[in-house]
Amino acid sequence: MAEFPDDVQTDVPPKAAQLSVRNLWKVYGPSAGAVTSGAFEQMDLEQKLSHVRDADHFVAAADVSFDVAKGEIFVIMGLSGSGKSTVLRCISRLVEPTLGAVFLDDTDLMTANPRELIDLRRHKMGMVFQDFGLLPHLDVVQNVAFPLKAQRRPRDARRAHARKMIELVGLKGKETAYPHELSGGQQQRVGIARSLAADPDLWFLDEPFSALDPLIRSQMQDEFLRLQKQLSKTIVFVTHDFLEALKLADRICIMKDGQIVQIGTPAEIVLHPANAYVREFIGDVPLANVLSAQDVMGPADGDGKDHPQVPRSTILNEAIKLFDDGTVTVDVIDDDGRVIGALHPLTVIRSLYHDDAVADI
């Protein structure tokens, strides 16, 4: 592992982080480089921010640091203008960051020269775009095979591989269609197939489902989870939809005005929002669909009686069905069947009303 500054913001220690972002800054303005050099390094964050703003420059990303573990779905969530897309584009270097470091395994992406960068993109990265970015003059197979064409793979090989990817995303039978003949959902499936064609380690998705109808969006999210189960990519997923983030993320990073507000698992964020800003998002979340038994359970009863049991990752919506006239305790068991805690109606109700006093993780 490379040497990192020790002010890592996450409370969860990175388990074999594959992608590490360190103190990333993106400043827009006529002399962004000059503004962020010299004494800039010695200032603290607040000073830095006011220094840049006093110089009439715009901060799109401020001191962003996080780690993404291998096989993890890391969702960056924020409203428009929060800098979430900028961060993603800095990692892929579609946008050149002003300051900071990004490590993929042990390689520093920021120091890669153009040739190396092209190589990294060809073999290590895949990206899905909000408005698909399909080439209108190519049919589905050609679009999917496009990254392989850039690598100069032989025509037959790349077409065969593209067909496999098309089947993977469920578009079999549409191989010869052109983008304009497909629905939005189908177009994004093409975009997904293309981003996976070169079998990258890193998978970037920039609001991939935001342009789709709600019903299709939900289908695509399920599809995405199914694919990830199969492929185990290291994923950075950008969205402005908090519910989408809760549904898909292993961990969520909430951003505002270019800064990270909170990083945590969906349950952590829902149960312990870092501030009022985060709490506002949680307002309309159907918590019973988000929280699982282990998130809200209290200590095991230990009264020796038999209680109904639920696996610890059962979502509350399912777990509470076990309560009835005669049942006031439900045991939570781990993967080996051991009882690790218990649910009581009162704890469950409190947790659904954002009462922090209940659960303790």
Partner: protein
């Protein structure tokens, strides 16, 4: 009563610069008998910019000539080669190639149109002339497209390049092409090459614009996805940028083709060789209207074919296109087979090689006699129409009512009492405007009254200068005022004031007619699908035709003169007015109309209070285009004997006087730009 007085005073306070201008103008008009410098800008105050330009031009020409003459030889060689091929190839062979290309682009329908067109060219007996013109087009087109693409891509890639390229484009398209024919003439010598170079310069701008536009409108996601796919810069350019921008570039190629043809034909003025433009021009000069009409129709046919074929290829570039044609390799195979087959047939049958004499159908003489008969029968009515417009519209605008109203034409005398009544009426209208708070309308009435009374040529130049500056200042602030003042001053100090005012006169009458007639046609078209469907092809036709051709029928019927020029200008410049009026009215949102109807509007109210105000921005755009078109056509109309800046350019062309031509051309461009910017300012205020 008190309120009206108060309002009048307030209006007068707001409008004091105008009142001051009026007062000054009145004094100048009263003094004009004693000092001629009021009406005619004194020669002693001019700057010899023409001479300086000539000195500079001579200096440059002397040094650059060897280089450009070398370039000319190269171009000439390319042109001669193409010309040789096209004129010696059997007609059946050329036709076969054109047909296969049309069929590939637009299917059976386009092939049919091409067949009819080619047949006309063959039967008219102007095949060789048409081929000569076509070879000019075929050499100029790739150059214009290539240069246009280069600069367009440069403008897309570099902001600094864009700052230079775009204003130059504006200038290239507003300065009349004839004006820069002269320096080209000096640099490249005489002959077809001059037309070639002029066409390239004239035709490149649409390609530049469309290329830049095409690249600019590539969705960013496509560029990013290409980068993330690991494309190198070159791969991205070839595989993502070019294909995505391709359709827009094809539209550019279509426009560039039409511009090339148009210019190639106009270039005949500076020395024709056996091309179709020269044919039209020389028969026009010899008053052989039948011949000029027949050869003019050849140009029309060529324009339509080139337009349709390039447009078909542009439409086909969409993946949504219903007609795909053959795969490229098979297309070329078919093309080769068709060509060879035609060659073989021509070798066997000499009639397929050279179009036989007996098959030429030339009704030129019949047309001539028909026109004569027509003139004999309806000559009186037509003369009455012409004289009516001349006496009651053109002359008052040109020399003013005070000189136009004479017993000989109007049948009455403009007595001092009548003049006093005229001014009293104007003053009263102005006062009413002031009293009701509509002081702008009041001012407009007086300005209009003065313009019609004294005529474009009878106004003191100081007043016109003041008017231009004041109007621009009120509409667009001091920068616009500075531009208008500078442009007007340019016309004055170069001693081309009287010619400029003559141009203004003809143009303003033409624009007035276009606005009234075109506006009405547009309204009619917007209210009826059938009318719209009938107007559209006529509009397309008028726009695709090389401007030159529009002169022929007007000239045929009304001989040389301002009226003929007016007709030609109106025919060309009316199109945008019709189109934008109709488009503006048609694109009023349906909800607004529903809202109007449910609010109880009568159809009349609905038109005036809902649809027209909504369509106004579009109509203003149309007006702007109409003015620019009219100014552009003015130069060509000078061929039929109008006076003004256009004539000045032609005279300069005749004597290869680069300075005079450029100064007059620049004057024309400045006029056009001034009107354009003032109208743009009006449009901004509308928003």
């Amino acid at each position: 009563m008190n309120r009206a007085v108060n309002r009048t005073i307030r209006s007068a306070v707001t409008a004091w610069p105008w009142l001051a201008l009026f007062a000054l103008s009145a004094i100048l008009v009263l003094m004009r008998q004693s000092s001629p410098a009021i009406l005619t800008y004194p020669d002693g105050w001019t700057v010899p910019l023409v001479d300086w330009t000539n000195v500079a031009a001579d200096w440059i020409v002397e040094r650059a000539q060897p280089f450009f003459r070398g370039l000319a030889r190269g171009l000439d060689a390319a042109f001669s080669l193409v010309q040789y091929v096209l004129t010696t190839l059997p007609w059946i062979c050329t036709c076969a190639i054109v047909l296969v290309i049309s069929w590939q682009g637009g299917g059976r329908k386009l092939a049919l149109i091409a067949t009819v067109g080619l047949l006309y060219i063959l039967m008219s007996g102007y095949w060789i002339e048409a081929m000569n013109t076509l070879s000019l087009v075929l050499v100029a087109l790739p150059l214009a497209v290539g240069i246009g693409f280069g600069f367009g891509y440069l403008a897309f890639r570099s902001r600094r390049a864009r700052w230079i390229v775009m204003p130059v484009l504006d200038l290239m398209q507003t300065v009349p092409a004839f004006a820069y024919l002269i320096p080209i003439l000096l640099l490249f010598g005489f002959g077809p090459v001059v037309g070639l170079v002029a066409s390239v310069i004239f035709a490149a701008p649409p390609m530049v614009r469309n290329t830049a536009l095409g690249f600019q409108s590539i969705p960013p996601a496509i560029l990013e996805s290409a980068r993330m796919s690991g494309c190198t810069g070159w791969q991205r350019f070839l595989w993502a940028e070019i294909p995505t921008a391709w359709r827009q570039m094809l539209i550019g190629i279509n426009q560039t083709t039409m511009a090339t043809l148009s210019m190639v034909i106009i270039a005949a003025i500076i020395g024709g060789f056996e091309d179709i433009g020269w044919e039209v021009l020389s028969s026009m000069r010899k008053a052989q209207f039948g011949q000029s009409l027949m050869s003019g129709l050849v140009i029309v046919v060529m324009a339509i074919l080139l337009d349709r074929i390039t447009a078909a290829y542009a439409a086909r570039a969409l993946p949504t296109a219903s007609f795909a044609g053959l795969p490229t390799a098979r297309f070329f195979a078919v093309l080769a087979i068709a060509t060879l087959a035609a060659m073989g047939a021509a070798a066997l049958l000499p009639g397929l090689w050279l179009w036989p004499e007996w098959a030429v159908w030339s009704p030129a003489q019949d047309i001539n006699s028909a026109v004569e008969t027509l003139l004999v029968h309806y000559g009186k009515a037509m003369a009455a129409l012409k004289n009516g417009v001349l006496y009651y519209v053109l002359l008052p605008v040109k020399i003013g009512l005070e000189r136009a109203i004479v017993p000989f034409t109007w049948g009455v005398t403009f007595t001092p009492a009548a003049k006093a009544a005229y001014w009293a009426f104007a003053g009263l209208a102005c006062l009413v405007g002031f009293a009701t708070g509509a002081w702008r309308a009041g001012i407009a009435v007086v300005v209009l009254a003065a313009f019609v009374f004294f005529g474009a040529t009878g106004l003191p130049w100081v007043s016109v200068l003041g008017f231009a500056v004041l109007l621009s200042w009120q509409l667009g602030g001091w920068r616009l005022a500075a531009f208008a003042g500078g442009a007007t001053a340019f016309l004055l100090i170069n001693g081309i004031w009287s010619q400029a005012m003559l141009s203004v006169y003809l143009c303003s009458v033409a624009v007035l007619i276009c606005v009234v007639l075109g506006g009405l046609l547009g309204i009619w078209g917007a209210s009826s699908k059938m009318v719209s469907a009938m107007i559209r092809p006529v509009n397309d036709m008028l726009q695709t035709l090389p401007q030159f051709v529009l002169l022929i029928p007007a000239l045929m019927l009304f001989q040389v003169g301002d009226f003929t020029a007016l007709l030609a200008i109106v025919a060309y410049a009316i199109v945008p007015m019709i189109r934008y009026t109709e488009f503006g009215l048609r694109s009023v949102p349906g909800t607004l109309i529903d809202a109007g109807i449910s609010a109880g509007c009568s159809p009349w109210q609905l038109f005036w209070q809902v649809r027209l105000p909504q369509a106004k921005p579009q109509i203003l755009v149309g007006l702007n285009q109409t003015v620019l078109y009219a100014l552009g056509m003015l130069v060509i109309a000078a061929l039929v004997g109008t006076t003004g800046l256009g004539q000045l350019i032609f005279l300069a062309l005749g004597s290869a006087d680069a300075g005079a031509g450029l100064v007059a051309g620049l004057g024309m461009a400045l006029l056009a730009m001034m009107v354009d910017r003032i109208l743009q300012a009006v449009m901004r205020r509308q928003r």
